[in-house]
Symmetry: C2
Subunit: 353 residues, 2 copies
Amino acid sequence: MSDYKSILSASCPMPKLDFEIITMGHGSGGLLTHKLLDAGVFDVLSNEYLDKQHDGAVFDVTPGKMAFTTDSYVVSPIFFPGGNIGELAINGTVNDLCMCGAKAAFISLSFIIEEGLRVSDFWEILLHIKQAADHAGVKIVTGDTKVVERGKGDKIFINTSGVGKVHPEAAISVDRIKTGDKVIISNDIARHGIAIMSVREGLEFESDIESDTCHFNHIVEQLLEGFGNGIHFLRDATRGGLSTILNEVSQSLSKGIAIHQKDITVDESVAGACELLGLDPLYVANEGVFVAFVEASIADQVVQKLKSWENGLHAAVIGEVADQHPGQVVLHSQIGGRRVVNMLVGEQLPRIC
Amino acid sequence: MSDYKSILSASCPMPKLDFEIITMGHGSGGLLTHKLLDAGVFDVLSNEYLDKQHDGAVFDVTPGKMAFTTDSYVVSPIFFPGGNIGELAINGTVNDLCMCGAKAAFISLSFIIEEGLRVSDFWEILLHIKQAADHAGVKIVTGDTKVVERGKGDKIFINTSGVGKVHPEAAISVDRIKTGDKVIISNDIARHGIAIMSVREGLEFESDIESDTCHFNHIVEQLLEGFGNGIHFLRDATRGGLSTILNEVSQSLSKGIAIHQKDITVDESVAGACELLGLDPLYVANEGVFVAFVEASIADQVVQKLKSWENGLHAAVIGEVADQHPGQVVLHSQIGGRRVVNMLVGEQLPRIC
């Protein structure tokens, strides 16, 4: 579930952190802030840009299109089966750039720490951030650390923003979706939300349900290399789950989206947990699943490409864009029924990311 | 002190926000999140990039150097004399880009809202964000909204990140500072920290002390146009105040910095408040003051340029870089004494920005 202990013992002990909890002084900008940063953060994340320790990072850009995105991560608990807030903060922001047709390159990292956070927890998160950044091939080039009083935060919130060059062949835009486009999902759904809920509710299932958190930085590049502007639109199915993003798209297009339940994979344990918790997997957040709207003629090849990726084993064409039912998502059930799937109203799973 | 009421009544009433407080559901990613965003946020901040409402913003870049920065704002209280958290979040991030020799262009905006925040407060902050962005000439192009439970946040935290092109003539780097360089401050010091403390402590002074928050996006461009690589280094004197940033520089250079108290302006009310609160103005945070290390031959012209700016009336050469006292900042007092000014230890003024 987590290999931080091996990372810790292997390369990154905490030799220079001679304090056990983070205090208000660590956010003051003065000597203690420097101690916190110098005593590890800069060492762990070191790269040519961050090492300059200026107010921002400076890098060369070549002509073309650039994508820019931001997300704050407030997931609770900060450690959960299959991941943690640090890993999520890297993968989530990398993925938002990918959904713009870009390859994530540079990431900013901003902590809002609640006074009293254990340094060992901070350290573990930091190592996972480093590992996730390395996996995705991105550099953390600039950052910020603030500390708030006990009861004014919740352990740690992390903002990551990111920039990356848009692939020259990419033409990702909701208005490129047309009737007849195929809707592809990159993997089985609902694992992240259930992994979080299982910890919160103290539930134990027959098999451990782990978050699906992963990055899309390489697979999306491969899709764009292979299929160029045949990929019309991409979006990750995070907060609000698959149904919410499909609703956003159908409303924005004023077209209908038909999806077929039989083609949407839900892991057996996840389905069981959803039943137990009274949740519809269509509304449960994912952190490693995206939806692609593609030219019908390439849909099967896109699915094959996704299936060759370790996080795309359950990739499938799950539906198509239609003129019927404009603004609505219509689910064709396994037993032949049809129902309209609405957008999530209110909170289903708060603080899932 | 604040002109939001006129803004409110003039152009941006709250016609579509039919709820009074922000609830957990507004951060779910579902219908309530859309309601919060559509019912105002997108209207107020509207521009060609944000309007696409995709996972990130995409824009064209031309060859050259780009700067990228991030900051999270946790200032308490969220409204204070002379400013508010929204304005600070724009100015602060714009200024960090300026300190890299860049002109800020695109800003990301991420809210972490505590459940129960009044919509009217959110709205006021949003309008100030818009106004500050317009003043600085930047666009808010991408964003995120999270909501946390009561007691897990503190009204609202805001992260802004930003990107901007580095001026072609800029060569801003700490290692360009050399012995004999002049140290210039852009204005009088300590107003921001004292404005915050006066509200927190419920103090009333003879005259209102207002935060100095402002943006540097135009003045720094003018300095770089006028003086190019004669400007060796720039840094804003925020958390930890003037003394902390001078210490950072002197330690990083292993050179000494001599500063002259008589040349550092502190407003009379601010000085009085500092005395009352037992604070040294050299350690009090600023939000509208930066320090420039420049070639000695251009120092006076730089000061003249700064003085022509509405936020630079008290600009002055305050010192010089020396080989003596490497790693130390030495203050020459008005009565002829000398003392070493150390970096701020621990917290002096928490949550100042």
